[in-house]
């Protein structure tokens, strides 16, 4: 079997919630050994974000499991000297550390870059605070939706008739920051391979989010353009929109990019009287055309409508929701959903690696770690801690396999 590109790379993962864990999830899928650090009193909040019944709810979160696959779990209380000591021993045997604490937290823990570098001179540190480690906004606290607002994307999103900006329905800043962080970490690995030097990377999630709308900055700086809310319409083509289909909350997305596509659409929806409309006319009569398309689509099954339009080379897709996406024939044919066994949960459909390396063919390999699952393996096996010390560490709360003070939220 062909090796995965990051085999042999070890990453200490201090990150929590979604942005950092998504980065290390991607890196783990590519073969890196990711060691996720939590503490009995400071666990990844995603474990307990929603109420879950059972004796160990923190080990049975489907949400946590989705984004923490391909990782090992180690508990270390970094506020205690022995916890920090063990972390630095681990750093000495690792290639990179990643964290998404608030900007000041790592230094306050006594684990800033210079400290890490004393443990491993060529260490790579990726810090991914919401607003970065420097600058006037560095102390602001940010999650994905905040980042989206503060980076300009929300200002560009809206229906256009109510003046209201909208956020994405997910915490979009997190996976954007996480994907960029994964790339930045690999960039530093490439640089280190060539120069022998480590790196201290300061990734501001607000900035990686702003990178997702670079053309809007060009427009604003050159012409002073303010955001235009277009709903689902295209700035040039017409018509384009999201139209209702038969059934509850069933929708069809459709774009017409040319006169030829327009003629084909008229034929499909039985609007032959409109076939001669030019692009200028279609733009001017967009409301009317939307109503005409919707009158047709509302009587159609979404998948059948998609097939009928695609048969005429018209870009169209049934909108998939958070349930139907698990039953999409195309994704199933591509073996995208995986049912990885988990020791505390029934298997559920989880996404396989989106980075399809055709030859290496990465597939899900391990479920998310139970809390402290790999304490013995890492502490004794990798760091040489005597077996007999584990009980002392547990008694002192440096390590543990259960949360202290667990609640919901």
């Amino acid at each position: 079997m062909k090796r995965l590109p990051l085999e042999g790379v070890r990453i200490v993962d201090l990150s929590m919630m979604w942005a950092g864990p998504y980065a290390t999830h991607l890196l783990g899928e590519m073969g890196a050994e990711v060691i996720k650090i939590e503490a009995p009193r400071a666990w990844d909040n995603v474990r307990t974000l929603f109420p879950i019944s059972g004796p160990e709810p923190w080990n049975a979160s489907f949400y946590f499991n989705d984004y923490n696959r391909e990782k090992k779990g180690l508990t270390l209380d970094l506020t205690q000297p022995r916890g920090r000591e063990l972390l630095l021993a681990l750093v000495a045997k690792s290639d990179a550390v990643i964290e998404n604490y608030r900007a000041d937290v790592l230094d306050k823990l006594g684990l800033g870059f210079e400290v890490l570098r004393r443990a491993r001179p060529d260490i790579i540190l990726v810090s991914m605070a919401g607003f970065g480690k420097t600058g006037a906004d560095r102390e602001l606290v940010g999650f994905g939706p905040i980042v989206e607002q503060m980076a300009g994307l929300a200002s560009l999103t809206g229906y256009g008739d109510d003046g209201i900006p909208y956020k994405t329905g997910i915490s979009y800043g997190d996976p954007v920051g996480g994907t960029a962080a994964a790339g930045a970490l690999v960039l530093a690995l490439i640089q280190r391979r060539r120069t022998g030097q480590g790196a201290c990377i300061d990734l501001a999630q607000r900035e990686t989010m702003a990178q997702m709308l670079p053309e809007a900055f060009a427009a604003a700086s050159l012409r002073g353009e303010e955001p235009v809310h277009r709903g689902n319409r295209h700035p040039v083509w017409a018509p384009q929109g999201v139209y209702p289909c038969e059934g509850k909350e069933q929708w069809l997305a459709l774009s017409v990019r040319s006169d030829a596509e327009w003629r084909a659409l008229c034929d499909v929806i039985g609007a032959n009287g409109l076939v001669g409309l030019s692009l200028v006319e279609r733009r001017a009569r967009h409301d009317e055309l939307d109503a005409r398309i919707a009158a047709w689509s509302a009587l159609q099954d979404g998948a059948a409508a998609q097939a009928a339009l695609q048969a005429r080379m018209i870009p169209a897709a049934r909108m998939l929701d958070s349930d139907s996406i698990h039953w999409d024939a195309h994704l199933l044919a591509r073996d995208f959903w995986d049912f990885m066994p988990h020791p505390r949960m029934q298997p559920n459909a989880q996404p396989a690696p989106a980075w399809r390396l055709v030859e290496a063919n990465p597939r899900p390999r391990r479920p998310a770690p139970l809390f402290g699952e790999h304490n013995r393996e890492i502490l004794c096996g990798l760091l040489g801690v005597p077996e007999g010390e584990l009980a002392e560490l547990a008694a002192a709360g440096v390590i543990g396999d259960a949360l202290i003070g667990a609640g919901v939220g």
Partner: protein, 369 residues
């Protein structure tokens, strides 16, 4: 493999100095995937696609620093074999039809990484489907969660399905390139916009996988303490976890909000609408700046809906040197530059289409050109 580091501008060594990247354009995905590579030192050469593949603002934002060529397919194939990475976003099979079959290129040059960016991937019943940003967005699931329930789902701005595909293209390509440096073996990466998004449905995805219920669109208000509200000078938001809820409610300054029914996370859900009205009323009397200051004071995530123009004036972004300047015939544009601090970055100029054909053929193919 062209992995010999060479000094970049002013003797600085950039992370990707010496790396050769061929972008076979191409629309937004391929252009976005390679944009940061050029800033970090790679020699990115763009073979132009259709004239309308990018609009003028996208060209300024995504092509800066790249060399631009126009060559026949035979020369393009030779350039692909001289590259370390090829990034393309044509339809499945389009590259092979031009004599650049990825598997054949890989067989001839095992260290080569080829990244193919499409809406639906290289295989499967929808692989050959026509797609736009909106269509790919609908297939990826995020569209279903954005907007309000009484209205159609809403695409977010600036072609996010295409950008997200490009962003994954950047990170996946570099990862495979690193693997090639280590082992001498590249790979062919098949990235689809649908799959890049389908795994990003936050808790909605796994929850629906468990309970079989589609998540509704919640507009700007997931809960009372996780949403966007109108304020005195625009819109602002708050995203509070339970651990920040007390600080948030204290910051609002209404003693009634410190009752257990608002502090307890399970009780609070029962009175979420009432709490939402109170938070809404509080925001309505504050400015963005006042709310951001409150967030800082209470250590609660508050945000303001800012426009690109406002961000161009941001002291914080200016202090961090976030924007690059690009000379254009219409003036100097300011666009996002380096994505992170801590790695050397070079800004670049915007070349005209095909302006660099002769130089690239000479540099990459030498006598073979």
């Amino acid at each position: 493999m062209t992995n010999v580091p060479e000094a970049g501008d002013a003797g600085r060594v950039l992370p990707l100095d010496g790396m050769r990247v061929l972008e076979i354009g191409g629309g937004v995905p391929a252009a976005f995937a390679t944009r940061w590579l050029t800033g970090y030192g790679a020699d990115v050469v763009r073979s132009e696609g259709p004239a309308d593949a990018l609009d003028r603002d996208e060209e300024i934002a995504l092509l800066t620093g790249k060399r631009r060529i126009g060559v026949p397919d035979a020369q393009l194939r030779a350039l692909a074999l001289a590259a370390d990475l090829v990034v393309e976003d044509g339809k499945p099979g389009a590259l092979a039809a031009r004599g650049l079959d990825p598997l054949a290129l890989r067989a001839q040059k095992p260290a080569l990484v080829i990244t193919s960016l499409t809406a639906f991937g290289q295989t499967g019943p929808h692989a050959s489907c026509e797609a736009t940003n909106l269509v790919a967005h609908a297939a990826g699931g995020i569209l279903s969660l954005t907007g309000v329930r009484r209205r159609p789902p809403l695409a977010n701005g600036a072609n996010q399905a295409l950008k997200l595909l490009g962003l994954h293209g950047f990170a996946a390509s570099l990862t495979a390139y690193f693997g090639a440096l280590v082992s001498g073996e590249g790979d062919w990466i098949d990235l689809s916009a649908q799959e890049c998004a389908a795994g990003l449905l936050e808790f909605h995805g796994p929850r629906s996988a468990v309970d079989g219920l589609p998540a509704p669109r919640l507009g700007n208000r997931t809960t009372a303490i996780w949403g966007i509200y109108r304020c005195l000078d625009g819109f602002a938001g708050v995203c509070s976890l339970q651990r920040q809820a007390r600080a948030l409610l204290e910051g609002i300054g209404d003693p009634e909000l410190l009752a257990p029914r608002f502090l307890d996370p399970m009780e609070r859900m029962k009175d979420d609408k009432e709490l939402g009205r109170r938070v809404e009323s509080f925001f309505a009397g504050k400015t963005k700046a006042e709310l951001l200051a409150l967030g800082l004071r209470q250590q609660v995530p508050f945000g303001a809906v800012l426009t690109p123009r406002e961000l161009l004036e941001s002291d914080s972004l200016s202090e961090r040197g976030f924007f690059d300047e690009v000379a254009t015939p219409d003036g100097v544009a300011r666009v996002p530059g380096r994505p992170v601090l801590g790695l050397e970055w070079k800004s670049g100029a915007l070349a005209a289409p095909a302006a660099d054909t002769d130089a690239v053929l000479c540099d990459w193919l030498g006598g073979a050109a």
